[in-house]
C-alpha cells in the first residue's frame, strides 16, 4: 500500500511507492493485452473526474482506467471562467462529495488546487494536473515507459526539452526522476527555464546538441502556440532551429536515444514528424502505459490490496 492517502504531486514522494506503482502498472499492462481487458478490482468504488480545464487525453486515459477496474465514474467539467463568477470551488467540491463518492481526479488551472481540495473534502484526491505545478500521473507513466525500455531508472540520463517554466509535466518529471536516481538536464530558451532551480538537483544547458550527446532519453515537451503570442518564443522556425528534435540533428549525432513526448505533438516544431514516427520514439507506448499507470494508482489508492489483485 502507498504511504500517502492522496496523489497530489511527486515532490518528496517515497521512492519505494513510485516503484510499487510502476510494478503494479506492469501487471495491469498485462490485463490490457488480454482479449477481455477488465478486472473487478474497484467494483462499487465511485470516482469523480473533476475537470476545471480542458483535457482530452488525460481525461480519456483516466476514464478508461476506471472502467477497466470496474469503478463507477462520473464526469464534471467546468471552464475556469464560469468558476470565477459562479459557484465557489469549495461549494462545488462539497456538493459533489455530498453524493457519497470515494475519490476525485482533479484537473485545475491553479497550482495547488488539488492540495486546497484536500482541505474541503475527505475523499481520496488524485491530481491530474494543477496549473503549472505538477502532473504526477504523467511523470509516473513517463518513468514506467523509461523503465520498460531500460530496465532501470537509476543513473539514467534524461533530457527534458522545451518550456520548463510553464510545464507541470516537467516539474513532476524532475521530482520523480531525481527521487528514482536518474540524472536530469533541462534544455530550452533561457526565458522558459525558471531562474530559481537551485533546490531541484538538475542541470540546465541551452545547447540542444550537448544535451542530445549526453542523454539516454529525451522528454520533448509540447510548445504551446500561445507562448509564441506572448513573444516568449520569437517564431516556430527559430524554435525548431535552436531546440527542435529534427531528423538532421539525430542523423548527425547518430546514437541510440529514446524519444518521449507527452502529446499532443506539434510536428515540425518541437519534433520532426519522421522522428516521432521512428523506432526511437516510444510516444504511443506512453499512451498505453498511461492507462496502466492510472489503473495502478487508482487501484493502490482506492482500497485495493495487493493480495486481492487477480490479474494473473
Amino acid at each position: 500500500m502507498l504511504k500517502q492517502k492522496h496523489l497530489l504531486g511527486l515532490e518528496n514522494y517515497p521512492a519505494e511507492d513510485i516503484q510499487t506503482i510502476i510494478n503494479t502498472a506492469f501487471n495491469f499492462r498485462e490485463v490490457l493485452e488480454r482479449p477481455i481487458k477488465k478486472v473487478p478490482s474497484l467494483q462499487g468504488v465511485t470516482i469523480v473526474n473533476l475537470f476545471f480545464e480542458n483535457s482530452t487525453r488525460t481525461k480519456i486515459s483516466f476514464e478508461l482506467a476506471q472502467k477497466r477496474l470496474s469503478a463507477d465514474t462520473i464526469n464534471f467539467s467546468a471552464s475556469s471562467s464560469s468558476l470565477k463568477k459562479g459557484e465557489s470551488f469549495k461549494d462545488t467540491a462539497q456538493n459533489i462529495e455530498a453524493m457519497k463518492i470515494d475519490a476525485v481526479v482533479i484537473r485545475h488551472p491553479t497550482p495547488g488546487a488539488s492540495k486546497n481540495l484536500t482541505e474541503f473534502i475527505d475523499s481520496i484526491i488524485i491530481n491530474a494536473g494543477d496549473g503549472t505545478h505538477e502532473h504526477p500521473t504523467q511523470a509516473i507513466l513517463d518513468m514506467m515507459s523509461l523503465y520498460e525500455k531500460f530496465g532501470r531508472l537509476n543513473n539514467l540520463k534524461v533530457g527534458i526539452i522545451g518550456d520548463i517554466a510553464h510545464s507541470r509535466v516537467a516539474l513532476s518529471n524532475i521530482y520523480g526522476l531525481t527521487i528514482m536516481g536518474a540524472k536530469v538536464k533541462l534544455c530550452g530558451p533561457p526565458n522558459l527555464i525558471p531562474p530559481f532551480l537551485d533546490d531541484l538537483d538538475v542541470e540546465v544547458n541551452h545547447n540542444i546538441d550537448d544535451v542530445i550527446e549526453w542523454a539516454d532519453a529525451l522528454n520533448v515537451l509540447r510548445i504551446q502556440r500561445e507562448r509564441m503570442g506572448r513573444s516568449l518564443i520569437p517564431s516556430a522556425r527559430e524554435y525548431r532551429e535552436k531546440f527542435g528534435i529534427t531528423q538532421e540533428r539525430l542523423n548527425y549525432h547518430n546514437k541510440n536515444i529514446v524519444i518521449m513526448h507527452p502529446g499532443p505533438i506539434n510536428r515540425g516544431i518541437e519534433i520532426d514528424g519522421s522522428v516521432a514516427d521512428s523506432e526511437s520514439a516510444i510516444i504511443l507506448d506512453q499512451v498505453l502505459n498511461g492507462v496502466a499507470s492510472r489503473m495502478a494508482i487508482l487501484y493502490l489508492l482506492c482500497g485495493g490490496k495487493s493480495n486481492e489483485m487477480e490479474v494473473k
Partner: protein, 430 residues
Amino acid sequence: MDIKALSKNTVLENGQIIDPYNKKMFKGDIWIKDGKIAGIDNFNFPKSSKIIDCSGKIITHGFCDLHVHFREPGNEAKETLYTGSLAAMSGGFTRVCVMPNTNPPLDSPESITFINEKAEECPIYIHPIGAITKNQNGTNLTEMGLMYDQGAVAFSDDGLPLQDGAMMRIALEYSTMLGVPVINHAEDECLRSNGVMHEGKISARLGLQGNPDLAESAMVHRDLELAEFTGAKLHVPHVSSEKAVTHISQMKLKNKNVTAEVTPHHLYFNDEALISYNTNLKVAPPIRTEKDRTSLIQAVKTGIIDCIATDHAPHRKEDKETTFDFASFGMIGLESCFGIVNKILGRDSGIGLNDLISLLTVNPRSIMGFNNDLFIIGTPAEITVLDPKCDWVFQKNHVKSKSINSPYFGHHLKGKVLITISRGKIYYQE
C-alpha cells in the same frame, strides 16, 4: 464586544506610563474627565471616579495605523467603518487612515466628506486618504486641493499602483502646495505580471507564478527619484524586499521627506509559509524570502523604516476559500498587530518597548502630521493599556473585523492590548 462610554471621571491607576512623544517613562496615574486628559502623575480626582487598576501594565498613546482598508463604501459585506473601528480598538488603535480603493473610490471632495461624516459615529478617529487619480484610472488628477480642504490627509491610488512616471511627477508636484504625503503602492505592473507570490525557489517548486522583488524595487527607485526632484513628501507603503530597503536607505541620506512603513506579516512570515498554499498568505506585495524578512527587521532597527502599518485588508470567506490564483490579495491585521510585532521586533530582535511603541504611535502620527503630544491636559484621550509580557494564542474569537482572513490562528503572540480609550469610549479586551 465590551465597548462602553467612559465614565465622567476615569482614573488609570498605578501603571507604567510611556510617553513616546516626550520620551518619558514613569510610574503613575492618568485622570480622564469628559473624555479628555485631566491629570497626569500628580492630581486630585473626584471620589466618584471610576478607578481602573493598571499595575504591572503599560499605559501609552493609542496606536495609529496609516494604512487600512475598511471597504466602505461599496464592500460593506467585508468591513464597514464601524466594524473596522472595533477591530482597530481591539488592537489598541485609536486612529487610522483608510485607503481610497473603495467602490466608488474616494476620488472627490464629496466622498471625503462621506467618510468624515460616517467616521463621526465611530469610536476611533478615521482619516480618509484620497485617490490620486479619478476612479484610480492612473491618468486624471483628482481635485486634490478640494479633497484636502475636506480632510484628506494623504493621497494614494493604493491597489492600483501609478504606473505612468509623468503622472506620478504631476501628483508629487501638486502635493507640495498641500504639504501632505503621496503614497504609491510600489509595483511595476509589467514586471509583476500575473505573479501571485514572491518569485524564487519556492515559487519554482510550487508552480505558482512569481512576482519578482524587482517589481517593487524598480518602482520604489523611480518614486524616490521623483520625490527628490519635486521636493514632495513620499511615503513608501508596505516595503517587502531587501532591494527596496537599499534604495530607501540611500535616498534617506539626502532627503528628509521620504518615509516608509512595513507590515507585521512581512516581518513575521517568509515565502516558505506559502508551501501550504494558504490563500490567507496571498498578499500584495508578496511575502518574500527569509533574507528579505531579516533585512526588513534590520531596517526597522536602523530607522530606515519609520513605522508599522497593518494594511488591514478584509475579504469574505468565499474570496479566500478558493484556489490560490483566484483568491483575493490581502489579510486582516489590526487585532494581531501588537502581539506579532512585539514578538518579532521586541522578543526576537531586541528592540526596546519604548522604540516599539514609537513605531505604532509617534512615528506614524508625525508622517501624517497628526497631533503627537497626547498626554497634555485637555487633549482628547487616546490611550492604550497593554501587557507586553502576555503570551497568548490568537484565535478566531479575537477577530472583531467583519472578515476572518487571518493567517495567525493558532499562532503564539507575545504581548496583548487590554484596554483602548478613544473618543469618549473604552474598550476592554475579553
